[in-house]
């Protein structure tokens, strides 16, 4: 049941308890307890809203930054990662295998704001060897949801 609950609320965190219980064929109280447990165990970490900022009048720039760093003795990458993720403008920080070490995503008000964050804050951190900044031009799909097209039912209306 855990897996099913997670699969559903990952796509629709607004679904209400009653409906969740109905479609899973379970009791409301059991679902409520399971959700509580999932939250307490830190498996459910938050309930966010997906926003296509492009469609608003609010200016927003998202960047992906590849960061190469020197791991520190005894700390590995964790220390530097922590120093990076504490900046509120940083959206996510991932340790990556391959050509670089950390992938940082960042929301800024403008290109300038992002680039000054990179040059002033990020690249000057001790242990950061180099950065490469990629600005996102268009989001086609995010969190499994296609942003550029709406679902259209093209089936015949009645079929046997």
């Amino acid at each position: 049941m855990r897996e099913q609950i997670l699969a559903i609320i990952e796509k629709n965190s607004r679904i209400d308890l009653k409906e969740l219980a109905i479609i899973l064929g379970a009791e409301e109280i059991d679902i409520a307890n399971e959700l509580k447990a999932l939250e307490e165990e830190g498996i459910i970490c938050g309930y966010h809203t997906m926003i296509d900022w492009e469609k608003t009048s609010i200016e927003k720039v998202t960047a992906l930054i590849e960061v190469r760093i020197t791991p520190q003795r005894g700390q590995g990458y964790d220390n530097i990662a922590e120093r990076i993720y504490k900046y509120p403008e940083v959206n996510s920080v991932y340790l990556i295998s391959g050509g670089y070490d950390l992938l940082v995503t960042l929301d800024g008000k403008s290109l300038k704001a992002v680039s000054s964050f990179v040059s002033d804050k990020l690249s000057t951190l001790d242990g950061v060897l180099s950065t490469a900044t990629h600005f996102i031009l268009k989001k086609y799909k995010d969190h499994g949801t296609i942003l550029t097209k709406k679902y259209e039912d093209t089936r015949e209306k009645i079929t046997p």
Binding site: R155, K157, I158
Partner: protein, 390 residues
Amino acid sequence: MRNPLADKIVKVKPSGIRKFFDIVNEMDDAISLGVGEPDFDTPWHIRDEGIYSLEKGRTFYTSNAGLKELKVEIVNYIKRSQDVSYDADHEVIVTVGGSEAIDIALRAMINPGEEVLIPQPSYVSYEPCAILADAVPVIIELKEENEFRLTAKELRDAITDKTKVLVLPFPNNPTGAIMEKKDLEEIAEIIREKDIFVISDEIYAELTYKDKHVSIVSLPGMKERTVLINGFSKAYAMTGWRLGYACAPREIMEQMIKIHQFAIMCAPTTSQYAAVEALRNGDEDVASMREAYNQRRRFLMNAFREMGLKCFEPYGAFYVFPCIKEFGMTSDEFAERLLHEEKVAVVPGTAFGDCGEGFLRISYAYSLEDLKIALEKINHFITRLREEKK
């Protein structure tokens, strides 16, 4: 001018769904719960394989019975799902949808005047196909109190010495009924005893919500007398690709292939390549679609319970078949009023046989959001009907 037409086809009634289809199509804003196909797109990796086959120029006929690699995958699938072995070279045919398989199976097995047992309510093509094959269709009226399963008694009562074939349409469209192993065992005994054959249309085999589907071919002595029909439309959301298949004893299969060879040549090549991918790597897609259907099924059953609308719990396909007898109208009247007054389209049960009278087929091949809106409207409608009655 002479009459250009054949009496046989003129006598066949056009599909009962057609009339309704025309009305619905004229209404732009109608919400339809009348569709008999999945709402999901074909999974992308399957579509991609079809596209890739076109890019590589695989645009020629395949052999009549179908691509060898597809037939092998079909045989593997039946082995892993039913633990029954077929010979890919002599016992399998790839057809243009399950529908073609129904047609050629009947034509391969029937001599004029022999009787074909057709349980109803069921899919619209069995009876016309039987007539076109010069069979005498004999309808078995399934009962709601048996959850629309075929019982041993109903079967026994319908068999005469002219009976040749039983069509076994489970999991069932339109009722959503299934036949479980014990149900099948009971009828299999009679089938063997009376020495008749079975055309088992299992196109909804992957969409069951209780135990896994059991095919009648897995019962002792039944593979030898059964044409098993399945396809890709429902399990993999591939209706438009027009691809199905049949497995049958070599003797029957040879004749089916002859009809197919002269009438069809071969099933669409692009679709066959896509289908190989579906059977090799599509299990997860099927599982996630099945789960989505099951959630919607529970949602509908709960909504009916809350409305006080009588409906047996169906465990297969993607239909529910609620009973509307309490309103004292025919299925047709009910469906037409529902359409005009609330702009919700459902299919009257009578489109699937006379014994569908008093029932509606409601499809849940729609998103939960759409179902919610439609169910709200149905609730308004029946509340109004109940007030009118007072």
